[in-house]
């Protein structure tokens, strides 16, 4: 059905309409399982991004301002890690959090906590690398003035972060995009347990593997709508802030 070849745009459209109808039905009915999955997805992704921002923003800013041997290597590594394969991250964290691994006694495996940690590890390089570039560019402009006023590099880093907050918002959104879309890491460390660690993306993977493509696609529509909503809200907020702060 969905794998028809050319000229069967009609079949594809009917798949999409069926999926859209499924999504609408689930949302209208307020299906409790769907609600639980959506809430968990938001909780995991938002927590991961918040943690990643707290780690990545200062890291990026300090790296932008610091000069030390090997700095170029670190910058390259950070940029490269923006594309770190999620499934490898999942495997690494599984080995770390497994009972047979070093952090097994923490009991984090197969819980939302493990998913947050794994996603945070994937998102932090994105935020840090983008921050580093933004702050480095800004530093060229601000450097003399801040030095003249007597700001230490550490102080300057935070001043620049605050001044660049509107552009950094986009960097954080990029991180959120990665977190909410990813499935490879969280399916390994979370275990896709019904009612406990099943998120939108892992549910979509499950329904696809069961052959229930319209449900999978329907869930996909819901996920996309959610992502659009988050991005829309962020854009409105940043425009309001821009008017206030100039």
């Amino acid at each position: 059905m969905a794998l028809d070849n050319f000229g069967c745009g009609g079949a594809l459209m009917s798949d999409f309409t069926e999926a859209f109808a499924t999504a609408a039905r689930l949302v209208a009915a307020g299906d409790p399982e769907l609600v639980a999955i959506v809430l968990l997805s938001l909780r995991v992704s938002l927590s991961a991004v918040l943690l990643a921002a707290v780690l990545g923003l200062p890291l990026g800013a300090l790296l932008a301002l610091a000069r030390f041997p090997g700095r170029t290597g670190i910058v390259v590594l950070l940029n490269a890690f923006m594309g770190f394969p999620p499934v490898i991250a999942g495997l690494v964290f599984y080995l770390l959090l497994s009972r047979a691994g070093p952090l097994g006694s923490w009991g984090l495996l197969f819980t939302p906590g493990a998913m947050i940690v794994a996603q945070c590890a994937l998102v932090t390089p994105i935020i840090a690398a983008l921050t580093r570039q933004l702050i480095e560019d800004l530093w060229l402009e601000y450097r003399e003035q801040l030095k003249s006023l007597g700001a230490s590099r550490l102080r300057a880093a935070f001043t620049l972060l605050w001044d660049a907050r509107l552009s950094l918002g986009t960097a954080v959104l990029a991180g959120f995009g990665r977190a909410s879309a990813e499935v490879g890491a969280i399916i390994i460390v979370g275990g896709n347990i019904s009612g406990v660690t099943r998120t939108m993306t892992t549910a979509i993977a499950l329904e696809t593997s069961k052959g229930d493509l319209s449900l999978a696609l329907g869930l996909g529509f819901v996920l996309l709508t959610l992502t659009l909503a988050v991005n829309g809200a962020t854009q409105l907020a940043s425009e309001a802030l821009r008017r206030r702060a100039g």
Partner: protein, 243 residues
């Protein structure tokens, strides 16, 4: 600790700066006393801005040294007692008042005091009405006055200004010159670079004339404009191009 010491006079001893194989500042020695408004003049590329940055400590000299009140720039309190204003002021993405308060926060002024002192500084430069506006929304002239307020709030003994009105229209230039004159009246030592001869005539008490990184003349303004000693200086005052 050093509250009563002065950072003036400023003494430059055989100051040199080389980059890319070229000597951009070549053996400059001078003493700038408290009191007169010192203007640093010269054609473009003479090294005026570079000299100012060396005095402020933004760049380290290749040879020679800079002594403020006999003390080197390494000591933090020496740097604190001088403030610099640049041709293109960098203004933070926050309110006008907050921009001034930022400089005060850096020197450890308490939150309550900061806003009060910021407002006093803004009043000095005539920006009180704009205190709550986003600083980015200000015009070029207003931004430069903000930079002056920011520097003034730190109550420096000396103010270094690098072509502060080069990017401004005549009205804004006048407003800025008025503020500079007020600071001078209050006792702050003014050291300023400019390529605008008219401005130099209006403001200078004391002139340092630079050409190709060398100090050719250090004379009182009146003498410089009527009877400069060196041929280059005379040509410059006459409005000729020097190279």
């Amino acid at each position: 600790m050093h509250g009563t010491s002065s950072i003036l006079p400023l003494r430059l001893e055989a100051l040199s700066f080389a980059a890319g194989g070229q000597r951009l500042i070549d053996g400059i020695s001078a003493t700038l006393e408290a009191g007169p408004r010192t203007l640093i003049l010269g054609p473009n590329g003479a090294g005026k801005s570079l000299l100012l940055r060396l005095c402020h400590g933004l760049i380290a000299p290749s040879e020679g040294r800079v002594l403020w009140g006999g003390r080197p720039l390494g000591e933090a309190w020496v740097r604190r007692r001088q403030a610099m204003v640049f041709q293109h002021p960098v203004v933070l993405r926050r309110s006008v008042r907050a921009n001034v308060a930022y400089g005060l926060a850096l020197v450890g002024v308490s939150r309550r005091e900061r806003n009060k002192q910021a407002e006093e500084a803004l009043a000095e430069v005539g920006l009180s009405a704009l205190a709550d506006r986003p600083a980015r929304a200000l015009s070029g002239g207003e931004r430069q006055r903000l930079a002056l307020a920011r520097a003034w709030a730190l109550h420096p003994e000396a103010m270094l200004l690098d072509e502060p009105t080069a990017s401004l229209d005549p009205a804004a230039t006048r407003a800025v010159e008025k503020v500079i004159a007020a600071f001078d009246m209050a006792g702050t030592k003014i050291i300023m670079t400019t390529h605008d001869l008219g401005q130099a005539r209006r403001l200078a008490d004391d002139v340092l004339f630079l050409h190709k990184g060398r100090l050719l003349e250090h004379t009182p303004a009146q003498q410089f404009f009527s009877q400069a000693t060196t041929a280059e200086a005379r040509a410059y005052v006459a409005g000729e191009l020097l190279w």
